[in-house]
Symmetry: D2
Subunit: 352 residues, 4 copies
């Protein structure tokens, strides 16, 4: 059994990976760590886990929290894992971090990201950036393997956009200066902490765009696109919040390159994602929405061309807490532990 520790267990990212790990046949949870609610059982914090996970929440400073593990998930905000990952690695653990701390391979790339979120641009573990891999199996499966020690899990907005853009950018189906990602997230993407914009009466009939001056996830998307096509790519990204609990719906636009039609587009998408179990390619006749990936690790892509304007349009659907967070993290764990990629994730979710 793989011994697993979760740092930041109390938030939605923490409970999400805990739920998944409880259903994983090769995992034993050994410690749950958080800075708040210390001393409570996980099942007191999340009563649905009563009888399933009654482990106590440990504070990072106590000895029990320092128990060695085979895999450590940092379900923590930016800035935590860069300070604590080294200790875990030195104890022999593999580390998967949810935040942006290890999504970038150079201090400069990290600094651009950090500035967007108002964090210190000086990375605290620069040497580890070289070693860390970007945890997107669908694009980097070859680099996420048993020799990997450190994974930076993908941002929730980024993963839906990257999976939806990659085939078009890699195959130059579209004009690279024309890219737009219009992304609608459900409220759980903002985490567990209450705030004015997520208060039920202020949110139940509210749609709004935010952070128009620049969301941090765009950095990842652009970097990945550049990796696919070899050129600098910039895109317009509009994050929005709608009154739902789970899900991200991203509409992706780009002007078609000369000679590209719907048939070529569909072929490119089907081919690119052929071996990606968790990506489903659908055409414009599909009647699906975010509820159809709710609770599952799938990304459904409706691939379309607006012939009147010669424009690619891809509608990407994920559950922000699964493929956008804990599910993708577990997919990474499976790969770096030499397990089947879909283990513990091969579930359809629950409807309605």
């Amino acid at each position: 059994m793989i011994k697993v520790k979760v740092i930041g267990a109390g938030g939605y990212g923490g409970v999400g990976i805990t739920e998944l790990l409880l259903g994983h046949p090769e995992v034993e949870l050994v410690a749950l760590v958080a800075k708040t609610d210390v001393g409570m059982k996980m099942s007191e914090l999340y009563p649905h886990l009563t009888g399933f996970c009654d482990l106590p929440i440990l504070t990072p400073d106590e000895d029990a929290a320092k128990v060695p593990a085979d895999v450590v998930f940092f379900a923590t905000p930016d800035g935590i894992a860069m300070n604590q990952a080294r200790t875990e690695l030195e104890q022999g653990a593999k580390v998967i971090d949810y935040s942006g701390d290890f999504r970038f391979s150079t201090p400069e790339a990290y600094a651009e990201y950090a500035r967007r979120i108002g964090k210190d641009p000086d990375h605290k573990a620069k040497d580890l950036l070289t070693e860390s891999v970007y945890g997107l199996p669908e694009l980097h499966r070859a680099d996420i393997n048993e020799s990997t020690r450190l994974v930076g899990n993908v941002g929730c907005f980024a993963i839906g956009c990257i999976l939806g853009l990659a085939p078009a950018v890699k195959n130059r189906l579209i004009d690279l200066t024309s890219l737009i990602c219009d992304c609608k997230t459900a409220v759980s993407g903002a985490g567990k902490k209450p705030g004015p914009g997520f208060h039920y009466p202020a949110r139940y009939d509210q749609m709004n765009a935010y952070r128009l001056s620049g969301h941090q996830h765009v950095v990842e998307v652009e970097r990945e696109m550049q990796g696919l096509c070899g050129e600098e790519v910039r895109l317009t990204f509009t994050p929005q919040v709608v009154p739902a609990c789970r899900g991200i719906l991203s509409c992706i636009y780009g002007t078609l390159a000369a000679g590209i039609d719907l048939s070529a587009v569909m072929d490119a998408y089907r081919s690119f994602h052929e071996d990606n179990y968790f990506v489903r390619i659908m055409d414009r006749t599909a009647t699906v929405g975010t509820q159809d990936v709710r609770g599952s690790n799938f990304c459904n892509l409706i691939v379309d061309v607006d012939e009147r304007t010669n424009r690619l349009r891809v509608i990407s659907h994920i559950d922000n807490l699964v493929k956008g967070q804990a599910g993708n993290a577990l997919q990474n764990m499976n790969l770096i532990c030499g397990l089947p990629e879909t283990m513990g994730l091969d579930r359809p979710g629950q409807y309605p």
Copy 2:
């Protein structure tokens, strides 16, 4: 007092105009007509109107429904007003129709619209098309006046897009081939009739795009844009439904023309909408959403430029049932009756 009749009183469009008319100081409701729920009081159908509007629902065929009125609202689906408006006009009424029947000035333009919604493209009252005006006061106020007899009220998606695009297109701030409208509507936009996609359990946590092959409202938007710039305009339009009751959030994109910057854009928008009481211009620092126009006739426009990609981005917010339907219809009524444009509409809505 202006005597008003409402045809199609039973739907959301009907109850919406009824509510507004009850608060209008110059109006007397004389008849409510519908094909269903005939014989019920309006207040039995909508119990919140008990004591405010206890008029019976009349079937179109009965004499009481044929009572002459000064203004007749057709809160009806496509295809009704084109058959019945003439009778009302001949009785001396002015007619305001919610549907697409009178939004177009030529049979050809109507036919393109009709094909998109699977209706007979042959208009049943072609001569009236010449007379009818497009009921968008912010663009056509000069043509909506006491001599007007017939108004085609604007489509709900169209109005938010047109108000958000018009200053940019008129002033050629953007490349006309680059226009995208990514529009998210609340569920009431689909009307009162239950359907699988609007059933609470199927909708409460569901976001989805639909009608990718071509929504009918795009025809209006393109026609209006062409009117503003004198060239054919085509745009990509992506309608989506999110789990909310009221509101349309439209994100509008276009590549900036050479030499245009944020300052020029803001000036153009402020100038264009200077005399439009119901349009508010905001910059990217505004923290507003659809809930801030809920229940009111306002359209809030956040006007922004993404400097990294040289792209205009406008976020348009309306209440689909007010500025997107009954409120705008009443605004038209005020104009064609020679009343102050804001009469009965000068209200902020209720929050939360």
Copy 3:
């Protein structure tokens, strides 16, 4: 014009009364006061009020906040008005307080209430308790008149229960030891301040009971029932929260006294509320819910008898922010200012 000041303007109670006052023909808003968001315009805090109420939020300490007014609303939590009302009264104002501070006429009665909410049971303005009146027009209209200076507005849960119980208790239709109020509130009842239980993802599909050990509103209900029947009355009260924004649905139960049947019950309810414009009596065939009083000052009562168990069952519907708060407060203002009771309140709300 009546000059009105609102203390605690920033919360839902403050914005609610502000909205209503803006539509009241005899009122002029002279000052908005709060401890947070000081210096912002009301319309910055609540963007839907842009152009309707651009007054600044004043801190209680500044001179402008001390301007004399004819009526002062304390839309504040418990413990504020008891310290500040005297100053306003001495300046010649009439005072209407939302909290429990002035709902009780003796220090002892207040103390029991205060203990339930963990407040100091020692009232800070005991002499004013004698003067203050309980602001429930439907039961105490005779005492709420132009000579009244100080009103304790009713609690939101309490008002729906009292209106639903009063005819039965006054007429001894039921066994006084058998009373149960099972009350479901929407989330806005908890106010504007975000908290874990009102965070959208934690609330969107959540129903729960709370404060089983004793909600403070039961004290008011029991006191009023005692006033109606002359005996001590105790009842079981179960507050619950459901995922809605506005509304309280209260199910009220009591075992019928000997010889009482549905017909006697209906007669008693119709008679008791005959002159109460804002109370509607309906029978068990009514198909109404909280949405039918949304945004209005009405209380709809479905009056029913379960013949199989010989039990009275009343279903009471209010909008917690209107009849349960700001609307009822304005109704009180009308009465103590000698205005028609329904002025500014005679509106049906907006549907859906």
Copy 4:
């Protein structure tokens, strides 16, 4: 492997059992049958099942639908199983029916139920009523075993009430004439078929009571209570709908018998449900709601006494589609197939 057929596969009850069966280690799905959507794949009807269940929907008349199975679930409305169960039984299948067809052991008891729902009171398979068992493992585990051929699964409202009332009634903790069940259901309890009361705009901020003249589930509850205490029991039952997708919150009241206090009550509840894995007993300090049983087969009971009024109060929480329907049906299947009762059901659900 147990071969399972699902009749009525297209509704929420059908998809619910399908999801659970897909995760059950001893089951093979052999046929999905329904009267609508025939010919579609289950995964076309429910896209989240793509790759998990691509079986076609068969019409009852075709041969493939008549394939013998070890267990047949009738996820059908009242009146179907009574006509079709015999054929399946004769083919050697065990039958579990969701509806009221087999919840009663005599034609007379069935007739009372049938009258409440406007159905023909004449049962079509009276001889089978003697054989069928009431599928509530927590009360009738001894009778639900490998010799059982026919199970009438419990009604969704009934199960939460019965589990919450049984310890009190069996132990005579309460006055049997004082029972009230005030039950709030989420909308999925009404099934998949759209209707005016479940249309998103009509439901999103709506709470209402319905069927005050008598809900059919009360018959089951009373019958079970009578079985526990040996006397006729009648109770007041108030069904309500609130704007949520999943969950039933039932508040259960009864006047305590002489000499019974909270301690005696807690002991009785803990003792009664000691061996019921899916029932959790909590005291009044518990902060749980329906979201804490969402997606799981658990029933959480908060057991409380209101000392001021000497009244028992139990708050019962279930997921109406799991413990209230498919989950309980699978629990029955496990028992009649000789499998561990919790197989395929031992899961916590997903939060938030």
